[in-house]
Symmetry: C2
DNA sequence: GCTTGCCCTAGAGTTCACTTCATAGTTTAT
DNA sequence: ATAAACTATGAAGTGAACTCTAGGGCAAGC
């Protein structure tokens, strides 16, 4: 498949895909060149880019991703190193999820207040007071 | 309190704090100038920066944050607009959390496989096969 | 055969969120 | 009184991840 098709399928621009290749996130299992020098992508490229997007969505930098993917590809690290990396990542993600939960709490309170403000502004005022009494951070 | 003290308390650099001010995240409730032109921060500045950090940690850009904070400050938007914004943010966070959960699943599988690989490589091989049979994305 | 459209490369430009620098005024300690 | 330490400003620099441009090669339709 040619680059534009892959870009459409993945929701990326052709620039981004070429950029990823330059950054070492794709290798010859994913891209080959046709006789006219056009890039030709395999289905594996789709899977690879899905993985890239997934990791990226949880805050992996491209550099980190590159390391991980290459290590998985060619077993550059020992199994123990990989296990350690996975454990570290899991912790990161779990604490990130906690932050998100805290943020959801904040938003829920805000929403509660704002909704009440539309229905019963006086009660909303009271709500504010109880918050200010008991919130310190 | 002067800038270095605030920086220490918040775990930020003085540069970052001045930068935030320049970007409109702090106003005269948070910073005033002394006669010598030094910035003098109130306790509210601490709360404000905590809020900034919180929003930032869930992926808000400073620009978005500026809009939100200013709107909350001076009621620039209608209550309904704010409610809509909160609902939108909640959805964003919830779908982000789902992504994190998916990622945790992936990591857990990887961990399971890698652990087994150390204890019983043959079983690990079998594990790989069952995955490849049933995974498409 | 010529236009239109997709492909190539190398490199410059952009945005975000800082970070560093140059230069200078102020305060504090010795 | 002078040095060290803190403050100020404006502007330039950084790194990540794109994004765009210039200048060119191939390919498909009329």
């Amino acid at each position: 498949m040619k680059i534009q098709e892959l870009a459409d399928r993945m929701g990326l621009t052709i620039h981004t895909i070429r950029y990823y290749e330059k950054e070492g996130l794709l290798d010859d299992r994913h891209v080959r060149r046709e006789s006219n020098n056009y890039r030709n992508y395999s289905e594996e490229a789709v899977e690879r880019l899905k993985l890239v997007k997934k990791f990226q969505s949880i805050g992996c930098s491209l550099a980190e991703l590159k390391g991980v993917l290459q290590d998985l590809d060619n077993n550059a690290r020992t199994n123990q190193q990989i296990i350690d990396w996975i454990r570290g990542k899991k912790k990161e993600i779990e604490s990130k999820k906690e932050e998100y939960d805290q943020m959801l709490d904040i938003l829920n309170k805000m929403l509660e207040y704002r909704t009440l403000l539309m229905e019963d502004p006086i009660k909303a005022q009271e709500m504010l007071k109880t918050w200010h009494a008991g919130s310190s951070d």
